[in-house]
């Protein structure tokens, strides 16, 4: 038990930041991202003994996180993320420096993407190798490259559109 706790702590410390960023990119708000982080790592904790080292542990956790994200918003019927981002921007204008404003625009743009695309692009932004993203998302590497190219174009277009407003 003590070993499990030690191992879990190590895994949590190494991966939680990236997983939180993924969840934040997907939901656009801190509370939901925290819920998703908690759900992801609860699954990791409960199933740690089932992990068989067939893939990297980070890939395994990413896969759990992606599934968690995809089912979470559907079952919770949460407020649409773009509305949330709008609220964040309207409620705290004084806190937004130019940099923060750009970051907020980025999240707003990500929110406009399809759910699966949102998760794929956050992994691309985090510079995960393509073969890992393919494994996590269950898409062949060839198809993934095409898809990522399309998502990058779409995201850049959305970002520029928002930046002009």
């Amino acid at each position: 038990m003590e070993n499990k706790e030690k191992l879990f702590k190590e895994i949590f410390d190494t991966n939680s930041k990236k997983i939180f960023h993924l969840c934040y990119g997907y939901t656009g708000d801190e509370d939901s991202a925290n819920d998703l982080l908690q759900e992801t790592f609860l699954k990791v904790w409960q199933n740690l003994d089932k992990f068989r080292n067939k893939s990297l542990i980070s890939t395994w956790i990413y896969r759990i996180a992606v599934n968690t994200c995809l089912t979470y918003l559907r079952s919770e019927k949460r407020q649409a993320k773009d509305e949330l981002t709008d609220n964040i921007m309207e409620n705290r204008p004084e806190e937004l420096s130019e940099k923060n404003e750009q970051v907020a625009l980025l999240y707003k743009s990500i929110a406009k993407l399809e759910e699966n695309d949102r998760l794929i692009i956050t992994m691309v932004l985090d510079e995960l190798p393509y073969h890992e993203i393919a494994e996590i998302s269950g898409i062949s590497e060839g198809n993934l490259r095409v898809r990522i190219h399309r998502i990058k174009l779409k995201l850049t277009e959305l970002y520029n559109q928002h930046a002009r407003i």
Partner: protein, 199 residues
């Protein structure tokens, strides 16, 4: 016109801090269930206090009529049985921990929700009917000692209080509990089933 590289550097420069540790995270997940357990314990404690007070009254007070004794006995037995049922129900959520035994805990949480529904529906009406008989017997002697005004006031108060408990309070409690437990079940089910999908 910004390029994707700019977007990527923006993403990477946005540092996000995880505010909880692994221990806190596990503790947080137990907290929701702990709240439910505490409420259930408080409920049982209230019933035990009522039982003890009524039992003390039954043992140490003097009554002239057998009806008072019968009425109070019915109420004491009733409160005792209901407390025992609540305790048995409480044991369902007190024995397991979701972080250690997810499947067993989930099954017991579902059983707990089902029991709660029975306790505050079918069983509640039986409880109320028996309680009314007990109260009527108890009042038979006791009301004779009061003035007519006090008699009417006490009867009216008892009727209104019991009606409120059986309708407004019971429904509100049941609704709140149902929502709370359903949310927990939904969350724990999501955690359990998603993992199977992700493997």
């Amino acid at each position: 016109m910004q390029e994707f590289d700019h977007i990527q550097s923006l993403w990477q420069s946005h540092s996000i801090e995880v505010k909880i540790s692994s221990d806190e995270m596990l503790a947080q997940s137990k907290k929701e269930v702990a709240g439910m357990r505490a409420k259930s314990r408080l409920n049982i404690l209230g019933m035990i206090v009522s039982f003890a007070t009524l039992a003390a009254l039954l043992l140490f007070a003097e009554f002239e009529s057998w009806t008072t004794l019968a009425g109070l006995s019915i109420i004491v037995v009733l409160v005792g049985i209901y407390t025992f049922i609540l305790y048995k129900d409480h044991k369902l959520i007190a024995e397991n921990d979701f972080t250690e035994h997810p499947k067993a805990f989930l099954d017991q949480l579902k059983a707990y929700q089902l029991n709660k529904f029975t306790i505050y529906n079918k069983l509640y009406w039986l409880y109320m009917a028996a309680l009314s008989v007990g109260v009527i017997f108890y009042f038979y002697e006791k009301l004779n000692l009061l003035s007519p005004f006090m008699q009417i006031t006490l009867i009216l108060f008892t009727i209104i209080w019991m009606t409120l408990c059986a309708t407004v309070f019971r429904k509100a409690y049941l609704k709140g509990e149902k929502e709370r437990i359903s949310l927990l079940i939904e969350k724990f089910e999501r955690i359990s089933t998603q993992f199977k999908e992700s493997n």
